[in-house]
Symmetry: C2
Subunit: 676 residues, 2 copies
Amino acid sequence: MSVVESFTKLGFNDPPAESVPVKSLVFKPKTPKSATPVPIVVVALQSTATPSPLIAQVTSSKDPRLARDDLVRDIFKCESAKDFNLGYLSNATSDFKLLIDSQLEAVEGATILKLTDDLFMTKEILFKFLSEFDAVRQSVDFTQEVKSKDQKKGQQPKKQDSSSAILEDAKLIGITVDKSKDFPGWYQQVLTKGEMLDYYDVSGCYILRPPSYAIWENIQKWFDEKIKGLGVQNAYFPMFVSSRVLEREKDHIEGFAPEVAWVTRAGQSELEEPIAIRPTSETVMYPYYAKWIQSYRDLPLKLNQWNSVVRWEFKHPQPFLRTREFLWQEGHTVFLTKEEAEKEVLQILDFYADIYKELLAVPVVKGRKTEKEKFAGGDYTTTVEGYIPQTGRGIQGATSHHLGQNFSKMFNLTVENPKGPEYPKVFAFQNSWGLSTRTLGVMVMIHSDNKGLVIPPRVAQFQAVVIPVGITKNTTEEQRQQIYDSSKSVESRLKQAGIRAFGDYNDNYTPGWKFSQYELKGIPVRIELGPKDIKENQVTVVRRNDSRKYNVKLDELEKRIPEILNELHNDLYSKAKELYDSHRVLVNEWKEFVPNLNKKNVIIAPWCGVTECEEDIKDSSAKKDDGEEIAVDEKAPSMGAKSLCIPFEQPELKESQKCIKCDRPAINYTMFGRSY
Amino acid sequence: MSVVESFTKLGFNDPPAESVPVKSLVFKPKTPKSATPVPIVVVALQSTATPSPLIAQVTSSKDPRLARDDLVRDIFKCESAKDFNLGYLSNATSDFKLLIDSQLEAVEGATILKLTDDLFMTKEILFKFLSEFDAVRQSVDFTQEVKSKDQKKGQQPKKQDSSSAILEDAKLIGITVDKSKDFPGWYQQVLTKGEMLDYYDVSGCYILRPPSYAIWENIQKWFDEKIKGLGVQNAYFPMFVSSRVLEREKDHIEGFAPEVAWVTRAGQSELEEPIAIRPTSETVMYPYYAKWIQSYRDLPLKLNQWNSVVRWEFKHPQPFLRTREFLWQEGHTVFLTKEEAEKEVLQILDFYADIYKELLAVPVVKGRKTEKEKFAGGDYTTTVEGYIPQTGRGIQGATSHHLGQNFSKMFNLTVENPKGPEYPKVFAFQNSWGLSTRTLGVMVMIHSDNKGLVIPPRVAQFQAVVIPVGITKNTTEEQRQQIYDSSKSVESRLKQAGIRAFGDYNDNYTPGWKFSQYELKGIPVRIELGPKDIKENQVTVVRRNDSRKYNVKLDELEKRIPEILNELHNDLYSKAKELYDSHRVLVNEWKEFVPNLNKKNVIIAPWCGVTECEEDIKDSSAKKDDGEEIAVDEKAPSMGAKSLCIPFEQPELKESQKCIKCDRPAINYTMFGRSY
């Protein structure tokens, strides 16, 4: 491994939400021909000017200039000066000096530095790396003025506020990226600036801050009640699984093996046998199901757990959508008959669809996965599929699997035949089903906008914020007190009515600043109360999603606010549904397939059901051979279309309808699309 | 490592709840002096007879006899025949034959085999081990009769039910171990037979089945509401932490390092840097706290998470009490002032005490930990300490730590001085506090009995079971129907009244069988309804804890059942409190210290507060030098006494009172005891 590769491994490639650009420069001081020059390596904030005279002064060297290719090649074995990065320091064949920008040193907190467009590193790791060189190292305040010779002693250099350059940017509160122009950048900003989530120093892991965790709690509460109504009980199985057990169902483990995280050491002791962290719990649970279930009277067995699982994805991680640890629920149920099991698969799928529609205001299409896309080891997978308008990509929302008898045969999950012991034992029928915090990502992508988050009211941590307004220099103290008292009374009445409300009575901020704040955070409605409202015995209610205003009489508060929240929910849903519906197009001819993908559509097409054809569709739609510009997001400019599902709601197939891609007869309409 | 050690490492030493004893025997057939004997190794259920004539028959060898020391030494390098175990097979210097008992092969499910008193192994691992030998291997049905010579062909051997030997034992439903005689064995049985928990094939990890998880959910619900009332919000931080971050607070990590589990591999890739699984989340969270908290207006910050943590204990694991993964909540709060922080420490401790008293009916003593026993890296630790009467040992119930400014200094968690920017920045004051599923273990140990679990009603998954009784051959169908209808109506009225009730209307089991079942599972009250009850317009209510009976008129159901449940709760608490109070003794003289420990007491003694003295107390109380028999549980026959806490409620110290152990003056009364 080259030194540069080693260095690169200290960092990561995925742009974090916020990073501080840093430059590294090599200077060569003027040196007599006979002497070997001692290069000066400067590591500084991108925004810091590093004037050569100042470098000369602090290093007591003569006339340093940016080094040319030959020096960089001779000393650091780096082909050209423009390719230089700090990794090459490890190659150094001679001494060098290291100057560190004191403004960079002063950057506080868990900062991530941007070294190049695709290399990011925590400040701590970079500094640790730099500290390992046996080089003369100096911390330099580049904001100091260069002293003239007679100034060198006695005078305090004039200091600027050393952190202004970065904080100016870091302190920007609002979203600075346009959702329609840089969707990934926008997504990162709404999540982090809206304080839903923060990036974490283990790549692919994220912090769920209270506003997002509260949404998850609201989903949990709703779903938990629903499944308990079906007789499901919660339990908790260990997060660890031995390789022996994990690998028992071959098809299943093949699907997960590349992403399994292994614990091999505890304290200072190497474990005798590595232990996996569950990527899902089928193989964790079913040996015990086999033990517990002795008679058909022990059936059905319906357990669920709320937990986290780990899938060490090596693809580009994305908050909520693709993360190495994520929260979910996984239900695992066992039935005596296939009929009972299949009935439950659909009941659960309906719950999932309802979570999207009724809680998150997100439209989904219910359907069945193809053989290629189904859960590894199961019989078939049902799914709810969403759609992200900005990228035109489909997204799997949650899945409910019928496992058939595959796992019960593998784990010997049998019961005595109800017909009597003289009949052969019966292998049980099983389901598993899961919904994860991915839900939150879909919700954010669909509803939020350039002002920040838009959180659907039924899941929002806070549904309403009360803000006193209209207080000016001319407001009397009595009037002011009246406005504040009324506001607090509104807040408390709303809470009494079961609405998750709070008030912001902080005098240090203007109402306008507060409006922006709570728009950024996506609070569904803002309730303003000012002198005019007092006079009219009303409050002014402003919806987050479209700034629509309502005047609500005070005595109608408990009735109207819930209504407004419901209308808001319905409007969010309708808008999203309209977009999904208008971008889900029926296509019967292959020549229209890719052009439609490129119009950010998902496609309903007649299909033959053959896996090779599915792969062919993916390959053929990935190529840019149709002459049209491909306008999906930059991470996947030429991504092929996968099958998303075979929708339950089917257009009628014409007799002798051919497959969209091959010559075989179509057996159904299948939904295809580029996808997450 | 010797072959035996390697073999031993395939298994584990801690007796599981259920295991199947297995024997391994070496036989030597009669062989001409000139020939090398081929030994026959038999692996069979302990209960299987392995007659020599049958071995002779199936191996076609002559007159096999149990091998003597010399053969075992020559061929397996094992000193004596009685020391032989299957590990020695790896030493074999010649061929051997391997006979496997087909009854052992037929044992189903995730069975654990008992190879010796302290070596247990899953059947799967043992069989995998055996499969690796290149030996002639035969599966033998030892129940077959030895054929006489003329019988050898044509006749079907008479088969016994091959699983009777083990299942007879495995199918025993009730508790077979006396709580007062074999406390650890009893504890395992009540948990597993009561279906709260099951043992798992990764040592130190356990499965929380629905009845225990439901208790945890009830605790969660209660506590979550309380802390949200204090303004705490829930969040979720990743389970992974980089070594760099984990090791930032030195005292803190020293306390946890030996128990940290490390992920070093994902799929087939070695990770560049090992990543730890959180043992607790101080160092996971605080770098982000430092980032988020910019102004004193961002304080207080109060976050909590419900999660699992991993501490890879190498000590004897015990369900709920010492497990490698456990569920808990961890609260992490930040305040501007020490006063606010310290106030919260005690508020939380009161909640913890209330969980024990009001939900679990368990008395605890509130106090402060000594310097030696406090949380590593914090300022001081407050604790609720329980007591297990059977072992006379104290048990830490939950802890609430004041971290002072230690972590805020380490993680640079500062805010601008509220006095103004010209004053120095202020390091924040922090707390952390946690309560785990250990609560459930304490609850079970204290209340449950030889009939099974006793679950306090406020946390029980089900509080009442309705059982129709008194149906005989002479009962008319009409009467029977009336009893069933009334029972179902009682069940539904109870549910309506918010009582967690269910009915058991299964005709296949007698009421007596059902009574035992639900006693085993600890359902707080059983509600019987028979012909006499119908006549009297009543139900008969029987309390699980003491079989006390009540007649409750049907029209008083909704009023009386909650009252009875409350009385039951109070009686459980009083009984446990009486035991704790009578075994918490004030001791002023060292000579009475150990004798009192040996009477299963915890001790309140005047103490000097010096750590060396505390260590001395532990050492001195561990020795059996007082002539009395030490009667703590077998795992820790001579365990020394630790300080449990410095109780908030202090007896008055006499002036010039000396420390119980040394000559220094006492500074307080401290509670000491053997402990978990």
